[in-house]
């Protein structure tokens, strides 16, 4: 039983996260506080939303490099539209528009991948430059700091305002976290409880087998990339609300961080395997790592080295295990025959 538990990537990631937290906490006790929990949740939200989409694509055997461009496009264009309409109502409308723009852009990926059979990495590499370049040249490339009122109100929203250590400082939770948890449930439901979800896993396991079993692989592909676009739109909007600006140069280039979190969480880069829980743990680990290395006295100049090493070890352990397992299988087969 325990042995089987140790074979689960999720379990190992959870152990690593707990171990890392304990070490950080021992070196710097201020780590164990409500403020850390709130901060981690807040800074994990955007990466988390992106990670959900990235996980779905990777489970299906593909890879998406364009979601950051889609996210920033959705955010920027939505903000511009709102300013042009002088709309100052609720942020909900902004979310709806951003999600719609994201879905439309995701459909471009879906079209290229399903109709022309382009390799997913190349198609999304192309759409990344296409979307970012289109926005920067044809729309605008100015920072927007003067964001619409609804967005500003949302940005300043606070829940559970709590005193920190008796001083005047207060900590609070941002409601944006709720959006993330709602999406987690939606993605979990799609993957585990619907035929489309089963199809996504089947597609990643073997396209051929999925087709012969009767899955509509084309339809599933269209759904995957449109849905990833949808998530990217929401993620982009949340990113903008947190930063309280619309910076057209942000996000693009950080897609590898998200992919790293997803893969650390046990999603197989070859497709067919991956869970929501694993991805959440991967995001948690990466977020704690990024936020807390400074707490344990690692100078910021060397933080990237530590992250690189953890990334290599994190991907290396499961890879080495499956490599030796394969070798063992070969030996067993040879002995039998």
């Amino acid at each position: 039983m325990i042995k089987r538990l140790f074979k689960k990537t999720e379990f190992i990631v959870a152990l690593t996260t707990i171990g890392l937290s304990l070490i950080i906490g021992m070196i710097n006790p201020t780590f164990f506080s409500l403020a850390t929990v709130f901060d981690t949740l807040r800074s994990g939200t955007v990466v988390g939303i992106f990670a959900l989409g990235t996980m779905i694509v990777i489970i299906s055997g593909g890879i998406d490099l364009s979601f950051t461009a889609i996210a920033i496009f959705s955010l920027y264009v939505t903000t511009k539209l709102m300013l042009a309409w002088q709309y100052s109502g609720s942020v909900v409308l902004m979310y709806i528009i951003a999600a719609a723009i994201g879905t439309l852009l995701g459909l471009i990926n879906a079209w290229l991948i399903s109709s022309f059979k382009l390799p997913t990495m190349i198609a999304t590499l192309g759409t990344q430059s296409l979307i970012q370049g289109f926005m920067l040249f044809f729309i605008d490339s100015q920072y927007i700091r003067n964001i619409p009122d609804g967005m500003d109100k949302f940005a300043k929203a606070q829940w559970f305002v709590t005193d920190v250590g008796g001083g005047p400082a207060k900590t609070s939770l941002h409601p944006g976290v709720l959006i993330f948890f709602a999406l987690v449930i939606v993605v979990w439901f799609i993957l585990k409880r619907t035929m489309i979800g089963r199809g996504i896993y089947a597609l990643g396991g073997s396209r051929e087998a999925a087709e012969r079993t009767g899955f509509d692989t084309k339809g599933i592909t269209v759904f995957i990339y449109a849905f990833v676009g949808f998530l990217a739109g929401i993620g982009g909007m949340t990113f903008g609300a947190y930063a309280r600006e619309a910076n057209p140069f942000a996000l693009v280039g950080t897609e590898m961080d998200v992919i790293a979190a997803v893969v650390l969480g046990g999603t197989a880069i070859t497709g067919g395997r991956g869970t929501v829980i694993g991805t959440l743990l991967g995001v948690l680990l990466v977020t704690i790592m990024k936020n807390s290395l400074i707490l344990i006295g690692i100078p910021s100049a060397w933080q990237k080295v530590v992250i690189g090493i953890i990334l290599i070890i994190g991907t290396g352990i499961p890879a080495y295990r499956s490599l030796t397992a394969k070798k063992q299988l070969n030996v067993d087969l040879a002995e039998q025959s």
């Binding site: 022309f116 590499l125 192309g126 280039g253 100049a301 991907t315 890879a319």
Partner: protein
């Protein structure tokens, strides 16, 4: 995609005896190369017509040759790994780390006012050290991929973070400068041909010979086409892959040396978009991401097309704000357009074939 028999080692290798005839036969033999060649010519001619006073000038071609060398050398490394079905995302990080290493040696060993002997010694030492850094970094990638079993994209993603982290750590996030005597490698020319470009072409010829004339090259294609088959035909896949990634690291460090010499500085952030561009060039040139296909000739055509397009667009759109951004847009457009056209023409061919059989 549709290149025939790219596994055979002597395929389409242009010899000195009848170069032009060989180029023609090369063009005819490979539809993708023909298409790229036409695209390159169309871009070249239309830009020359649109900006006759600035585009088709010696000076412009010189400056374009300077610009495309670094990225070209990086693209060679990425292309090699892509032919084996892998990828090397760490090329740019290795280039910067190697550049920093060389820069540190140069500035520490030969500060201003040193004797020519010291300077020469420092330059030799700096180059050797940079190459060594590239080789070690590349071999480390190869080790992770072949001995630990991490997939190439993840392994090099991790080392990309690690190597650029090392660069940031060593420099504390600031830049490092070279010495003026070193700049001849980056800014000099030889009979009007920029030295970086000569370095790039020499490397391209070297890789082309490696791919077409050596067993290693043949095995590279074989592994990319079908790793299981290559294993059972007696190829030591792990050994070949290890050497490919080491070579990619070595090429990256050469690019790093060129960057240091050309800009007289090195820092961790230089050329952030180079990795994606290098992949773009390789794919544009007909390298299959699934492995097994890819030729130097295609990659060269891809590189030159992109360079002509970028420079031309910069000239055309000089009066608009953000001409640079249109370049990003056009790269993405070009990549997708080429891939779609390749797919459609492969489809058409398939249809013709099935008709014949039917």
């Amino acid at each position: 995609m549709t290149q025939p028999s790219s596994v055979s080692p002597n395929d389409n290798y242009p010899t000195k005896t009848d170069f032009s005839k060989n180029i023609l036969s090369l063009l005819r033999s490979d539809e993708n190369i023909t298409r790229l060649f036409v695209i390159m010519l169309v871009i070249l001619i239309s830009m020359s017509i649109a900006r006759p006073e600035v585009f088709p000038t010696l000076q412009n071609f010189q400056s374009m040759a300077f610009q495309c060398s670094e990225i070209g050398i990086l693209a060679l490394g990425i292309m090699l790994t892509m032919i084996t079905g892998g990828i090397d995302l760490s090329v740019n990080a290795i280039a910067n780390l190697a550049g920093i290493t060389a820069g540190l040696i140069l500035t520490n060993m030969a500060p201003a006012g040193s004797t020519p002997e010291t300077i020469t010694l420092a330059i030799i030492l700096a180059i050797v050290a940079a190459l060594l850094v590239g080789l070690i970094c590349g071999a480390f990638n190869g080790f992770l991929i072949t001995r630990i079993g991490i997939s190439p994209i993840l392994a090099t993603l991790g080392t990309m973070t690690l190597f650029s982290g090392l660069t940031i750590g060593i420099t504390k996030g600031t830049g490092i400068f070279g010495i003026p005597e070193f700049q001849f490698l980056g800014n000099g020319d030889f009979f009007k041909i920029p030295i970086p470009f000569i370095i790039f072409i020499v490397m391209a010829i070297f890789i082309s010979i490696l791919l077409n004339r050596t067993t290693l090259g043949m095995r590279l294609y074989l592994i990319g086409t079908n790793p299981v088959a290559s294993k059972f035909s007696g190829v030591d896949n792990r050994n070949v892959l290890l050497r490919v990634y080491a070579l990619s690291g070595l090429l990256s460090s050469i690019a790093g040396i060129v960057i240091l010499a050309r800009t007289n500085s090195a820092n961790a952030d230089y050329g952030g978009s180079y990795v994606l561009m290098a992949i773009l060039i390789a794919v544009l040139g007909g390298v299959d991401v699934a492995g097994g296909f890819g030729k130097i000739s295609g990659m060269l055509l891809g590189l030159f097309s992109l360079q002509f397009l970028s420079t031309g667009l910069n000239m055309l759109l000089a009066e608009y704000r953000g001409a640079n951004f249109f370049k990003i847009f056009s790269w993405g457009f070009l990549l997708i357009a080429i891939m779609v056209i390749n797919y459609l023409s492969a489809q058409r061919k398939m249809k013709v074939k099935t008709k014949h059989i039917g």
